[in-house]
Amino acid sequence: MYGYKGRILYVNLTSKKVEVTNVSDDFYGEYLGGSGVAAKIFLDHYKKGLTYDSEYNPIIIMTGPMAGTPTPSVSRFIISSLSPLTGIWGESNCGGFFASYLKFASFDGIVITGKSENPVYLFASKGKAEIRDASKLWGLDTYKTEEFLKKENGKDVEVISIGPAGENLVPYASVVNRRGHLAGRTGMGVVFGSKKLKAVVVQGNEPVQIAKPSKYKEYLKEIFEVYKENPTMAALKDSGSNSSYDLSLQTGDLPLRNWSKGVWPEGDFLGSVKYKDKILVGIETCYSCPVACKRVVEIKDGPYKIEKGPGPEYETVGEFGGMLQIADIEFIAYVNDIANRMGFDTITAGSTIAFLGDLHENGVIDKSFLHGVDLKFGDKDAVLQTVKSIADRTGIGELVSLGSERIANLIGEKAKDYITTVKGLEAPMHDPRGNFALALGYGLSVRGACHVSSLVFPVSSGFMYFPEIPELTDFGDPCSEKLKPELAVKAEDFGMFFNHSAIWCIFGGAALNATQVVTLFNLVTGFDYSLEDILKRGEKIWYLKRGVDNLFGIESKDDRLPKKLKTPLSEGFTQDLAPNDEKMLSKYYKLRDIDSITGKPSKEKLVSIGLSDLLQLLYEG
């Protein structure tokens, strides 16, 4: 088999059974890889009453067909499961080196069910696997865990692990590779924790076979030239994901003070120049990526001293900077270090703290609700005290670890005006008030508010360009509703292939157009797909994931933005602007043949795209 290894490892932690299943070309040809394959496996595991901590809730770790090849920016993996945070489809994807080594170990993916009584880790090497004791590791942070496992198994292994946040079931705990590569969102680390699975270690050296090696080699030369000439890649190499910070602040893309302000002059202290001046000491990359956008930082002295390690990404700078109004890049790097070690998502953590700060400032809650912490915007000490208590869930950490939606449910109706979630997931650091398409991007994202769940954000913000797909080329004024539903449909369909199943990085992949990515996919796998074939499969994968959400109770009312994100600001670049999501959704449902009340795809649509198994579950119980 080309690209794929044709083998998925199935592990049951209750029975300790480990077995390998061979996968056919036909199956991969239909579901492509990554989260397309994961969604199908998840559906096959679905049972009524499934909860995140059910024994039979699977952790599905899947690579794409190009992981482990020299193809740039695509050696990534996804982890999916039922999300402990949102109660719907959970999914998070991650770069680093783990995906390639999983392929080198002779597996495309791993499906883990059951529950262990004692802490364990999984070791997979050369087509075999075993469950090993991890009692000594329980309680260690992700840095120490990885260090320990490399000492125990040799330096040629790759590790993903959880930290204390995952062990203590913080609903937004993440899974970490090489300290700074995180499957951060939707709480996949909690599912590890609930199964007492501390880590997965992979080792191997079996190369990935390429279907058309000589043509591929030639084409790859052209592709690397594309990377060399691309100014966006140069910006990412120079300043990482935070290269967009200054522009985001200026154009109203960066949310401020829990989405309530449009101007923040102090925010200039967090841009690429200050980042470089104050904390940057090096750069790192993922497997076979010429971009190298990962930052290495160090703070040698002062209250926020940290050893050399991964630096904060744009989203973390946005959350602990703009959202919490703290213009101190050293402070943010310090918080980032805690989150990576403890293993939790900085987007949900930052948004939840900002949400509480907003409620406190507006008198909806008082200090006693906050366990005595005087949480205010701009107060570094109070924010730090809060961050430090999340992983072990003590004091205010017990509250913040719930995430904003559960806290809002505790408070009641008054909290609803301050919340920033869609389907239970906190919105990331891009504001739909200056980019109306994003209202659909967030609203319809199958894992809850997310800017990379489809290509709506990367395309509408101008970061990506696919001239071969008309709906992704001409989509009107950014602040009008016109043509946005059409954009959303194609951005979802192509996104299901691009950054979900093939798993191109949203940053590194931005150098390429649709023809280039489809050509690379075909040369590696030996499939001979046209763009239309790819879009058709992407469409099927999107409906499959939407259907999974429907099985867990998602209806069309859940596709709306929260009030906070569509209340116009009285100042700044996006002053007086806000998207009308009702108007866009109504057109969108027609295009998708989705019922505007139940939010379910029609029976006819499901049959026409070959999802009769989903139809049965959705309509016939």
Partner: protein, 138 residues
Amino acid sequence: MVFRDPEELKQVLGGFFEKVSQDKEFAKKFAQSKILIRFNYSEPELSITLDMTDGENIIVTYNDKEKRSEVDMDMKADIAHKFWLGKLNLTMAITRKMMIVRGPVPRVLAFIPVLAPTYQMYKDYLKEIGREDLIEVG
């Protein structure tokens, strides 16, 4: 086309850069980059060079072939006008090659934080020279 000929482009956009260069405080912020940047406009054709190499001042020259630029930015004059009005999605313009950057991108990135006030300055300048009509054209 927003500008009918190079003369009008020079008067409006060139005039704007000259005005910025006369604002000592602002010019200093801009010039901290110590960069020599050349904007090569088409439709109509004109190149404007901003020499900030002394770190204090902005020296504006036109169709200057003598000075060697560190960064060149090529674009239609309409795109430039839209940019200074604050109506252009810069990321999209670069991705779609409506704006081509030649030279070290990090040098351009360093400029972005000082740009924010210039959008309003451009609008004010257009009013000052009696060209409010151009504000809506962008």
